[in-house]
Each structure stands twice: as structure tokens, then as C-alpha cells.
């Protein structure tokens, strides 16, 4: 069986609340990062509050619909990103949330490597039937990365985001199980 958590450039890990809070506090200073990753207004949250929030999450423990990961580089073990999957258990669909907080790692294939691991996890461990994601139209780098990973465009919700006085579309993409299996060469020993 394959190694679920190790890619070519990164590995998926779980970080303690303290480490996650420290990283978040640093990443939230980069509003370009926030605006690429999120739809809600950028803001400043204290490290204390963030730590409490992550601690609460840890206390809740395992939930079959939530799979949050932190991401570290294989080269020098730097904590550079988050990657999360949320499941609709009934319809067997996973939603991806991904964000590389350390901007020096943008555009170098780290996102693609993360997504590869994430899709492998979703399809061979969580056994979902499809994986979905949304992105902003002003994020062409992410669009290219997701297309490379196998996601297909399914539509755009027009002007559902407003920033800097302008309205922007959100793009919606999805990959079906059969499509992902095909990309792996057709058979998963199924």
C-alpha cells in the first residue's frame, strides 16, 4: 500500500494548536494570501485567540466529516501550508481547502504536490465519489495547478465576491472518482 502522507516535495502532518496559531498569526499579515484563499474580510486575530480556537478543535477530536492537515516541506521541514478536506458523508463528496501561507513557496509545484496527496487520500482512504473546490477568478495560478491535478471546470457564480470596489466571479471545479482512477492508469486493484 502507498504512503498516504508523503509526497515529492511535502508531507502532510498534524501540528499542535500552539504551532498552528504561531503560523496563522504570521500568515494573516499577508493580506494577498488571505484574499487569494478566502472570501471573508481580512482581519487580525490574536495568537491567544487562535490557539484557543485550535485547542477547541483538538478537543472535539475525530469527526468523520473533517480532515485537517498541516503541510511541511520534505527538504527542511518547514511548516508552509494547511490542507483540509470536509466530507458530505451522505453523498460521498469531499471539499478541498488549501492555502500556502509562506509566499516564497508559491508557483514552485508545492501546491500541486499537496493536491496530489490530498486527492489520493480522498479517493483511496476516504473513498469518496467526487472532490470539489472553489477559487476566485483572480487566482489564475491556482486554476492552472488544479487543472493539472485533474479538476474540471463546472461553472462560475457571477460577481459573488466584492473587493477593491470590483465584483469578481468564483470558479467551481470538480473531479469524479472514475476520472481520477483513469489518471492513475485505470486500475486501483479494485
Amino acid at each position: 500500500m502507498r504512503d498516504l502522507f508523503r509526497g515529492k516535495l511535502v508531507r502532510l502532518t498534524f501540528e499542535e494548536p500552539e504551532a498552528r496559531a504561531k503560523a496563522e498569526v504570521r500568515w494573516q499579515r499577508d493580506t494577498e494570501f488571505h484574499r487569494l484563499a478566502d472570501s471573508d474580510p481580512a482581519q487580525m486575530v490574536s495568537e491567544k485567540k487562535l490557539k484557543e480556537w485550535f485547542e477547541k478543535q483538538s478537543e472535539i477530536g475525530f469527526k468523520p466529516e473533517r480532515y485537517p492537515f498541516s503541510v511541511r516541506t520534505l527538504a527542511d521541514d518547514r511548516h508552509i501550508a494547511f490542507f483540509a478536506l470536509w466530507l458530505d458523508l451522505i453523498h460521498s463528496e469531499a471539499w478541498v481547502g488549501i492555502g500556502i501561507g509562506e509566499r516564497e513557496f508559491w508557483g514552485k509545484g508545492y501546491g500541486t504536490d499537496m493536491m496530489k496527496l490530498g486527492l489520493q487520500y480522498a479517493f483511496t482512504e476516504l473513498n469518496v465519489q467526487r472532490v470539489s473546490l472553489g477559487l476566485h477568478e483572480y487566482n489564475p495560478r491556482a486554476l492552472r495547478s488544479y487543472e493539472k491535478a485533474g479538476f474540471r471546470m463546472e461553472g462560475r457564480t457571477r460577481q459573488d465576491l466584492m473587493r477593491e470596489g470590483k465584483h469578481y466571479d468564483s470558479l467551481w471545479m470538480g473531479i469524479l472518482r472514475e476520472e481520477w482512477i483513469q489518471m492513475q492508469g485505470g486500475d486501483l486493484n479494485e
Binding site: P64, E65, I90, S92
Partner: protein, 186 residues
């Protein structure tokens, strides 16, 4: 689309703590019913006690338990309850637990009918891959009803129960999605 809550003899309905608490405390006094239903020692419980634990359970509204009361289509009489508890989402498997408290309705096809309804619910509303159940070997009527519904024998925990001075096995039965699909040729 198919009616997901109705069978030929019964329908699935909501659990009301007040009404169900009253009925269940009555059925509790039937030790034969309780010994078919439960592996724990049969004991008597107050209606209030039963009602309280029902309310607590319903309040939580857990997403992995689907719990219904069973009513006769003919006169809407409350016959018992059935629940589907998903214990393994990645494998999409759930345990089904059935109890018909009204003994007048034993051996008349009601168990088979309600099991048919819950399997359709399990495979086309919750979209499971398999359904599992446990049944005690001293309950042959139930075993036959489950076989008729399509469950297959998968094994037994030997001498699991100790009742009436004897040891009894607990049986595992299961039905797979594709088996049910073939049976119900949609």
C-alpha cells in the same frame, strides 16, 4: 422517486419521546420481547426514565443514527422502532436494530416489511455499501425474516449469551449494496 418511508404494511414515522416512552415502558414488561431485543439483563424501568433517555438521545440528533418508530398503515398503530446506526463511514456500513413491541404483530410479515423499507432507506437515501445486524440464535423467527429480506449469514460469536442456564450464539448477518440492487432490479 420511490417513497422512502412507506412499505406495504408499515410506515416509518417520527419518534416522539412522550408517546414512545409510554409504549416502550409497556413493552419493557414483556420479558420475552426484551430477551429477543437486548443482550443486557432484562430489567424494569420507569416510563419517566425511558422518556428522559429518549429526549437526551433525540436532542443530540446525531448524524450517524437514523431512528424511526414503526406504524401500521391500516390504523396507524405504534408497533415498535427501528434504527440505522452508521459506525463506519469510510466503509459505509451500518447496524440495523429492530424491535416490534406489540406481540400481536409477531409472525405476520411486519418485521420483513419494515426491514425492506429500512434497506431501501439505507441504500438509496443514506447510500451505504452494506448493512449489518446481530440476532440471537434463540430467535429463529427473526432469523427467517432477515433471510427472506436478503441478509446472509456471515458468522457467529459462539456462546456469547448466557440465559436460562444455557449458552447461546449471537449471529452476524449482512447484506451488500449490489445484492440489494440486484434483488430490487431498479
Amino acid at each position: 422517486m420511490n417513497d422512502i418511508l412507506k412499505g406495504e404494511l408499515v410506515r416509518l414515522s417520527a419518534l416522539d419521546p412522550d408517546e414512545f416512552g409510554k409504549a416502550f415502558s409497556r413493552w419493557h414488561r414483556d420479558s420475552e420481547f426484551m430477551r429477543f431485543l437486548d443482550m443486557s439483563p432484562t430489567q424494569l424501568q420507569s416510563q419517566k426514565g425511558i422518556q428522559k433517555s429518549l429526549e437526551d438521545d433525540l436532542e443530540k440528533q446525531k448524524s450517524d443514527k437514523h431512528w424511526f418508530t414503526i406504524r401500521a398503515l391500516s390504523d396507524d398503530k405504534l408497533l415498535g422502532d427501528i434504527d440505522l446506526s452508521i459506525y463506519n463511514w469510510t466503509g459505509r456500513d451500518a447496524f440495523v436494530g429492530l424491535g416490534i413491541g406489540e406481540r400481536d404483530f409477531w409472525g405476520k410479515g411486519y418485521g420483513t416489511d419494515v426491514m425492506k423499507v429500512i434497506l431501501r432507506y439505507a441504500f438509496t437515501e443514506v447510500n451505504l455499501q452494506r448493512v449489518t445486524l446481530n440476532v440471537f440464535e434463540y430467535n429463529p423467527r427473526a432469523v427467517r425474516a432477515y433471510e427472506k429480506t436478503g441478509f446472509r449469514h456471515e458468522g457467529r460469536l459462539r456462546q456469547f449469551l448466557n440465559r436460562e442456564g444455557k449458552r447461546w450464539d449471537m449471529l452476524f448477518m449482512g447484506i451488500l449494496r449490489h445484492e440489494w440492487m440486484e434483488q430490487n432490479e431498479q
